[in-house]
């Protein structure tokens, strides 16, 4: 059973983290381990209709952000990798420096030392030289950097379309199925599908939707 660590930190973009957790819940074979940093909790309540407690319920296991004794603090606890979404520039800097502050930073540190997959979804613009240097250093170590950037070639009609597309691209990074993904297949194909209703991923009945 794939086991994925999901970290959420205090960058803007909480709706994407929530949408990812909803999508992962639709994959019954995937076990999710969630850590929300202190400022992620604030951002969730600012940017989504959820409380942090409601988001915690979307994961199979949720840890407190300061719990350095959690299972995911050790490489002996096997996982298929970690995604941090949204990922703040402070978190990027902390991981780059190996400064395993808090459980998000420690779990990422472990994923790196175990040569497992680490995916960061930063939401920041513009990018300073410090940001770019840190992201470059991490990319050199094999970390995947997937900035929270909408695709436009699929003509998104709603914010939800933007988020669903990004969720599919995150699932792609872990080889997880994304059956509702809208994929680019050349201009001729794109022209023939313009205006056609797009498939929508299902939503759990008990979970409120992200704001449209």
């Amino acid at each position: 059973m794939p086991r994925l660590i999901v970290g959420m930190t205090g960058a803007s973009g909480a709706p994407l983290g929530v949408r990812l957790l909803e999508a992962l819940r639709e994959l019954p074979d995937v076990e999710t381990h969630l850590v929300m940093s202190r400022w992620a909790r604030t951002t969730i309540e600012l940017e989504t209709p959820y409380t942090a407690a409601e988001v915690a319920k979307l994961a199979d296991v949720t840890y407190r952000p300061g719990d350095q004794a959690a299972a995911i603090s050790s490489g002996s606890f096997r996982t298929d990798g970690m995604v941090i979404v949204p990922c703040s520039m402070k978190t990027v800097a902390g991981i780059r420096a190996g400064y395993a502050d808090g459980l998000v930073g420690r779990a990422a540190d472990v994923v790196l030392k175990e040569r497992s997959r680490l995916l960061l979804v930063p939401r920041e613009t513009p990018l300073s030289e410090v940001h770019l240097d840190n992201l470059l250093a991490l990319a050199r170590m094999g970390v995947a950097i997937l900035p929270l950037m909408p695709a436009f070639y699929n003509n998104p009609a709603t914010i939800e379309d933007i988020l669903d597309h990004l969720v599919a691209r995150i699932l792609d990074q872990f080889g997880l199925p994304a059956p509702h993904a809208h994929r680019w297949n050349g201009l001729a194909d794109a022209r023939s599908t313009v205006g056609r209703p797009r498939p929508r991923p299902p939503r759990g009945p008990s979970t409120p939707g992200t704001p449209e």
């Binding site: 803007s12 600012l46 209709p49 513009p126 070639y153 914010i159 201009l187």
Partner: protein, 209 residues
Amino acid sequence: MADQRNVTLAVTGAGGTRIARFVLEALLNDDRVGQVDLIVSAAGRKLIAHETGRAVGEAVELVLGGPAPKVVSWDPEDLAGGPTSGSYPSWGMLVVPCALGVVGRVAQGTANTLIERAADVTLKERRPLVLCVRDTPFSLIHLRNMTQVTEAGATVYPMIPTFYNAPNSVDEVYEEFTARLLGFIGLPQSDYYTYSGDKTPAHRDRVGR
């Protein structure tokens, strides 16, 4: 107006060409801008045509849907065009959207087209160069090139939305991005969201709690 500035706007073949229309309209509506030098790459033309459902045509008609007196259009293959020279008056250059291939060529100083040459000139003249990249994930090559152009004085400005303003539609994302981008280049706009912490009433209204 003596203090009006000329802004060079390049549109290249990355997704998000609709934002180029928002940016061009905002520049044209701004009295602080006297002229916009518009350069649309061949790939950019194809993408705009696709993303707007129009036929590939003249650059300005393609981006705006009609002509505009403040716009001077340049052929991207015209390496003798005004923006090839630092003597041509320009405040600086925006590339919206900016393909990562363009970032790579700018990083290497490869001035194969008027867009790359204009970016090269903007850097050598120490004028603002803002590259609104649109791609995800970033590869090591992308990040290295983006770091290099930043070291050379450019600003990498990814087309990433903000969520703290709780946007309700895709157009709100475009509008917010456009207003923030213009503010960044010293043309502050009045109608954008200013983050003011988690007690902001805008949040309550928009998220609906």
